[in-house]
Structures are given as C-alpha cells and as structure tokens.
Symmetry: C2
C-alpha cells in the first residue's frame, strides 16, 4: 500500500473529520471564525487523525469515540500551533501568514485558548477514565515543550538530552497519544494501546527530527519560509547541535548565535555550511534509528492489514522531502 | 457569623489548598516558577475555593474530591487572570506588576497555558462524568469571555445584554461552577447542586458589577491601579454603560472613547463625571437585584449552618469597598 492509497481508503472518514473540525471551530465572533477558517484551510497532512483512525483498526474502528478522538487530537494540535507561533514569533506557517502575524499576539492567544477549550469539551464526553488522564498529561507536556523552546533559545551549550526532551514534548507525545487513543477508543486492551503509544512516540521523534533536517535542506518554496528559519529564531535543532560538535563549524555557529545583529549574508553562510556538513547525515541517522524502533514496535502487534499501512507511514516519514 | 469568622473556620482547609496550589505550580523552569510564585503571593480572597468548601457542606465535605475541586477552580481562575492581562494589556493587578508586564506576553501566554494544563490534569482524576462536562463548558465560556472583552473594546454602542453576557462568561460562570462542584464533589444530588450553581451565578454577577463600580469609585490605593482603568482600557462596564444613556454625559464619554489620544485631564474629567452621576447608583441597584436573587436561591436549599455563611458572603459582596 502506498501512502496515497492509505489516505484514499480513509478519505470518507477524513472528510467527516474535516467537517467536524469546522463545526467545532465555529464561534459567535468574526475574527475568531476567520482565524480558525484560515487554520483549517491551511490544511496540513492531518497525520494525527490518520494515526487515530489506523490505530483504531486493532479494535473496533466503528466506535463513536474513534472519530471524537481524531477530532480532539487535531484540535489540540492546531491550538498548540497557534500558541507556538507566538512563542517562536513566527510570521509564516506553510507559506501563509500565522494568526499572530495576520492579527496580533492577543488574537493568537485567545484563538488558541478557544480551540483548546473546544478540544477539552469534546474530551469531556469521552467515557474512558484513562483517556482523560493521558490527554491531560499530554496537554501539560505540550505547554512545558513550549516553555522549553523559549528557555533554550540561542543557548548553544544545551546538550542532546535537552533537544530530545523538547521534541518529545513538542511533537512525539502527541503522536504517541494519537495512536494510544485510537487503541482506547476502539476498545483495544491496555497492552495493545501501550504498544501503539510507543509506535507513535518513536514515529513522532523521527518525524520531528526530519522536520528539523528539512528546515536546513528544504527550499524556500517547499518550506513556505526561508531555509534555516529555526536557527535564525534561535531554535537549536539537531543539525545545529551536531554542527556545534564539529570543530570546523563550532565557532561560526556560535558567533552567529551570539551576534546581536548578524547580517543576512552571515546567516546564509552558516546555514549553508551546516547543510553541507555531516551534521545533516548524523541527524538523519538518529531519525532512522527512531524509525527502526517504531517498526520493531509494530512487529510486536498482531499482524493485520493496518500493520502494513502503519509501516508505510513510518517509511514515508523517513523519506519525506517536505 | 461574620466573614472573618467564616474564613477562620476554613483556615485549615484554605492553608492546605494554598500548599496544594504551590505544589501544582512547581515546574522545572525558573521563570515559570517565579511567575507562578508571584501569582500565589499576590494572594487574593480565594473566594472560589471558599465557595467550594462551603457548598460542600450540603453533602459530605470530607470527600477527597472537595479539595481537588477547590484547587482546580483556583488554578483555572489564576490561568485566566494571566491571559486576561495580555488581552487587557494590563500592567498592574492588585498593585503588583502582572506577568506580562514583568516579563512579556509570551511568558504570560505559556504561564497561563501551564496553569491551565495543571488544572486539567487535576480534573482528569475526578471521577464524576458530569463534573468534566460542566468544567469544560466553563473553560470554553471563559475563553469566549476573553474574546468578547476585546471585541467590544471602545464600542460604546453595545447594549446591556452584551455587558451582562460578558461578565457572565468572565466571572459569574466560574463562581457558579465553584458552588456546583462543591455540590458534586460532596455527593449532593443534582437537584441541590443545580441550586448551588444558581446561587453562585447570581453572586458572581453581583460580584463583577461591584468590581466594575469600585473601578470608578475606589481610590488608587484601594484598587492598586488608577480609578477608571477599565474605561481607559476601552472596557465599557456597567457604570460607563449607564453614563452613556445619560444625555448630559453621553457626548463626553463618547468623545473620550473616540479620541485617538485623550489627555490625562480629559480621562480624569470623564471618570469623575461618571463617579458623581446616577450611573453608579443604577449599577449598584442591579448588583443588589442579583444579590437578592442569590439569597432567594439559598432559601430553596435546606437550612443548615452553612446557609447563613453563604448569606453572609452574599451580603459582603454587596457592601465590599475593595
């Protein structure tokens, strides 16, 4: 099965999810509606709802809670993106102006708050005590991830553990939760749901590392923003981390991070030197290691048709170009 | 029973709640810890936890869920204050710099997000399906209230319904929830909990109107910020609304709201004219009407010792000077 076939099979469900997202975001307020609509239209791969739908095939995918979980997960993701853009001071996402850029920080704050509130409302109807606990822990972790992102900005002395914890909180935990909730919602045992959780976690780690590599090697057209944006914003991702370990690159990376107003030329030169260094390959290697762990976890699950779909998704994550 | 006696009786419980708030706000992050500690030390009347504790006396106040509810409610309240200060662009609260003033909007955003997350985590352990639903609805209403506050800034054409809905969402609903959760948590019937809800709601409406009146009639020392701050920020509260209905005041209020840069003298003159007008008395009358409704609701509940405490609180709300 190719990725396109997996999406095609889930097309009907994903369409329903899209409608439900739209419905969830309706609010008696014009700016909020417009901001939410912009977010919906900006699209995205809807990877979290897809993971819920697929994971649910280890149980009964027709249960009502499956769709509820899928919508909830995407709402939490959208809310955290809106707040992230404030924290990162990002003006562009997927080539489109962010909520905070189109309006301001205040609008972004309350739009995120509202979307979060809608997600929580949806969860509250979910009759699974453990589900509430895991979701609430993820929400806490997302907020800690957001904070870590600021805390370690421009801090080139941070260690690898620090980066890994950050992307765990920022990305991997939510993907892990998507798979786990797909399990809970479809009535899988805790044993199966836990394995699904770990699959999602390893997949998420790989996914974010790939994202961080693409930020260096992608073109401005693919990224919807200039290459090296993470570094320019002071966010030291894995390629930058490895570059800092490289004696030939260390000084130039530190100097651009410590400079008050580096010129565009200085930025470009550092970004390019990282792009052409071993740092990229080293980051890809770590991403691959997580993918292997994800696939190994799949093999601990009963081999169903969906197991191959999940494997296909894992392989796509390892090779995606944007 | 005087208010002081009510607080004295609950001193032990309130102390435990204070400790638990402190524990809930601990985070592996220095700025976040400092911001949270500042919030805790700024104090406040802890009226929401107190309402939970008192309402719980209609059932079994010793149940574990009672304290959990009290802590949760105060956390939700604190989180919404931090985000409100961003929306209102407020630099002072209770005479102390706000989180967004001491650091910036981003810190205020993530501090609020974190506190919210901790509240949600606490709720998730609460084994009462209806409790989850009512809490999540309140969180949605709080976010809508926050949005309305921006939406109607400087809009002097808004009607009374608009103001009432705003303070309902901003304040009254959370007080209503405090009383209702006190009921749920202590094992009261839905019938009793619903009446407690309405008591809290009417009390909250009166509480906020009193707050809005005090913003005009209080001294800078009592308020911890200059009198008339709401109006200066474009927040048209009940006294301003009534002043706008007064033919002698209408033009000057509109003119200061529509002016791009009114002078300090112009502000002071308008604030003073409202303070000396019938608008204050009219607002106090509406506050009293809500208080009467709150007390009437109490009389529908079984007459216990706590009924008199709640009545005392209602009467305090009507007469408080800061």
């Amino acid at each position: 099965m190719t990725l396109a076939q997996i999406y095609a099979e889930q097309k009907k469900n994903l369409k329903i999810i899209e409608k439900r997202l739209e419905y969830s975001l309706e609010a008696p307020h014009p700016i909020l509606n417009q901001a939410s609509l912009d977010l919906l239209r900006a699209g995205g791969k809807r990877i979290r709802p897809l993971l819920v739908l697929l994971a649910a095939q280890y149980g009964d995918p027709e249960r009502k809670e499956v769709m509820d979980s899928a919508v909830t997960l995407e709402l939490i993701h959208m809310a955290s993106l809106v707040h992230d853009d404030v924290v990162d001071d990002s003006d562009l996402r997927r080539g489109k102006p962010t909520v905070k850029a189109k309006w301001d920080n205040r609008v972004a704050m309350y739009t995120g708050d509202y979307i979060f509130a809608r997600a929580i409302e949806l969860i509250s109807k979910f009759d699974h005590p453990k589900a509430h606990q895991v979701i609430s822990k993820v929400i806490r972790d997302l907020s800690l991830g957001e904070i870590d992102q600021i805390r370690y900005l421009f801090n080139w002395k941070q260690n690898l553990r620090c980066y890994l914890l950050r992307i765990k909180r920022k990305t991997a935990i939510l993907m892990a939760l998507s798979c786990q909730l797909g399990g809970f919602a479809s009535g899988c045992s805790d044993f199966v749901s836990k394995k699904l959780y770990y699959f999602g976690y390893f997949l998420g780690m790989s996914y974010q590392i790939t994202d961080d590599v693409l930020d260096f090697v992608g073109t401005e057209k693919q990224l919807g923003k200039p290459a090296g944006s993470d570094l320019r914003n002071g966010n030291i991702t894995l390629p930058a981390f490895y570059a800092l370990q490289d004696r030939r690159l260390h000084d130039s990376v530190v100097s651009v991070l410590e400079s008050n107003h580096p010129t565009e030329r200085e930025w470009q030169s550092v970004v390019e030197s990282i792009r052409n260094s071993d740092a990229i390959q080293m980051a890809e290697n770590l991403s691959d290691l997580y993918l292997k762990k994800a696939i190994a976890k799949l093999h601990e699950l009963p081999e169903l048709r969906v197991t191959h779909s999940l494997q296909e998704i894992a392989e796509y994550v390892g090779t995606r170009k944007y």
